[in-house]
Every structure is written in C-alpha cells, then in structure tokens.
Amino acid sequence: MKVMNAVGLHARPAAVFAGEAGRFASQIRVRNATRNSPWVDAKSILSVLTLGVEQHHEIEITTDGPDEEQAAAELQRLISTDFAGKL
C-alpha cells in the first residue's frame, strides 16, 4: 500500500489526509511549497487535490487552534510514515 503514497497526494491519500485533519478542532491549512501554491483548507479533499502534490513535492502545513501542536505532529507523522498503512 505504500505504492500509492509514492506518487503524491492523489485521490486516496488526499482523502486520508483531509480526514485526519478533520479530526482536529484547529484550523489547518496546507500548501504546495514546491509550486508556491496558495494556502487551502486541509480538511477539504477537493481543496487538497487542487494543490497537485506529486512525489518529491514539498508541502507546508500550518495549524492554529486548541490542538495545534497535536494536529501538526499527527499530520507530519502520517506523511512521513507513508500514511502509516492507512492507504
């Protein structure tokens, strides 16, 4: 299942990523740093998909709210572990 993550944030990883972001109360925004894209709502699958994040692209996440530390840590872990078997 690591294979799908190897190609970037296409439909399945975007759905998992947005779902994970949606578990937190904080406002979470994400952008494609490689593309210098605008910031979008990390909790919306469609918004995450608009970023066109491919393999080797760098993405940037910002969290703001009551559980911001935890949200940042969890999302970072999700991606750095190739979605921790959730794909």
Binding site: N5, V7, A11, T50, E54, H57, I61
Partner: protein
C-alpha cells in the same frame, strides 16, 4: 501557530517505476492540461439510469471507453478499488471520482462525465447520494495528479458546479468547462506581477 515542512518522498525499491515518475515530474511547472482537452464529448453522458454504485461506476467506465481513453479492463479496476478500499472516492457531496491506478488499460489521459438519472448510494457517511460520477484515467502518476488538481479546482467552484450539473446536453457541459478555463486563464494573467 505551528508550521512544518514535509517532504513527500518514496524509496525507489518500493516503486520500480519511480524513474518514469521522476522524469515526468521534471516538467511539473508546465501549464496544467485543459480539462476540455481531457474530456471528449463522447465521454459525457447525462441522466444515465443506474441501480447501484457498481452500475454507476460501470457507466463512467463505459464513457471512458467510448471516449477512446481506456479499455474495458479499466472499468473493472475502478470497481475493484472501491470493493477493496471503500467509498472514499465520493470526494464531495454528490460527487464520486471513479479511478484506478495508472495501468496498461489506460490509452491516454482523460476524463468521463456521467450524471445519474437517480442518485446512487455508495455507502459514504457524509457525501451520499451521488449524482455525478467523474471517471479519471491517466497513464502515469504525474499526469494523474495534475488532471485531478484541475478537476478539483472546477468542482470546488460551487456556482460553476451547479451550472455543470444543470447542463442539459454534453455540449452544454463542455461549453461550461471551456468558459471556466477562459476565466481561470484570465485570472492567472491578472495575478501576474
């Protein structure tokens, strides 16, 4: 406020086709493919009767085949993904994005557009029932991600989406998409320094 940089990466030994992906991503800064070029009129079908999600996905696959985008094997692959991973393909209220991994069954990158005569349940807890099934096929991961990005931008635009869903003929669907692209291009020019 917490900010972090992440790097989406993969190990070459997990993905033997990584060489191809790396080569194509060298050209990622090129313009995204126009949706209208990805969606042949033969791949647009409106008010298709479908009794369940399988029927709906099959209609979307049939439209891809009619548009010369995939072989029928791709349709089976799209259904298998949902059987395996569940209804995550329902990416927004009423909208399913049928797709499978890049494979030999993909002849060229493209989309199909199928609206259903009756809404179909895919088993998604928030976004059911589905009235629009967009089929997506791409021969490699890079063009897959870019086609998705363009499509997501269109579907995210609510008034545009509603216009598209009200379209009475395939020609009307294409006309609305072309208009979106024109405005998008105009905005991009305005946004330049």
């Amino acid at each position: 406020m917490v900010e972090s940089f992440l790097h989406v990466d993969a190990r070459a030994d997990d993905a033997p086709w990584i060489r191809e992906v790396t080569l194509t991503s060298a050209s990622t800064e090129q313009a995204r493919p126009h949706l209208s070029a990805l969606l042949p009129i033969a791949a647009i079908r409106l008010n298709v009767p479908a009794t369940d999600w399988r029927d709906a996905v099959r209609a979307s696959g049939d439209a891809l085949v009619a548009g010369g985008i995939t072989t029928p094997a791709y349709t089976d692959q799209m259904i298998a993904i949902i059987e395996q991973l569940g209804p995550y393909i329902v990416i927004a209220p009423g909208i399913a994005l049928a797709h499978a991994r890049p494979s030999d069954a993909v002849l060229r990158p493209g989309l199909s557009w199928v609206t259903l005569a009756q809404p179909a349940r895919f088993g998604h807890k928030d976004n059911d029932p589905v009235t629009l099934v967009v089929g997506l096929a791409a021969p490699d991961s890079s063009s897959h991600v870019q086609a998705l990005a363009t499509l997501a931008g269109l579907l995210e635009d609510r008034p545009r989406r509603e216009t598209l869903l009200r379209a009475k003929t395939p020609r009307d669907v294409l006309a609305a998409i072309v208009e979106y692209e024109r405005e998008y291009a105009a905005d991009a020019v305005k946004g330049m320094p």
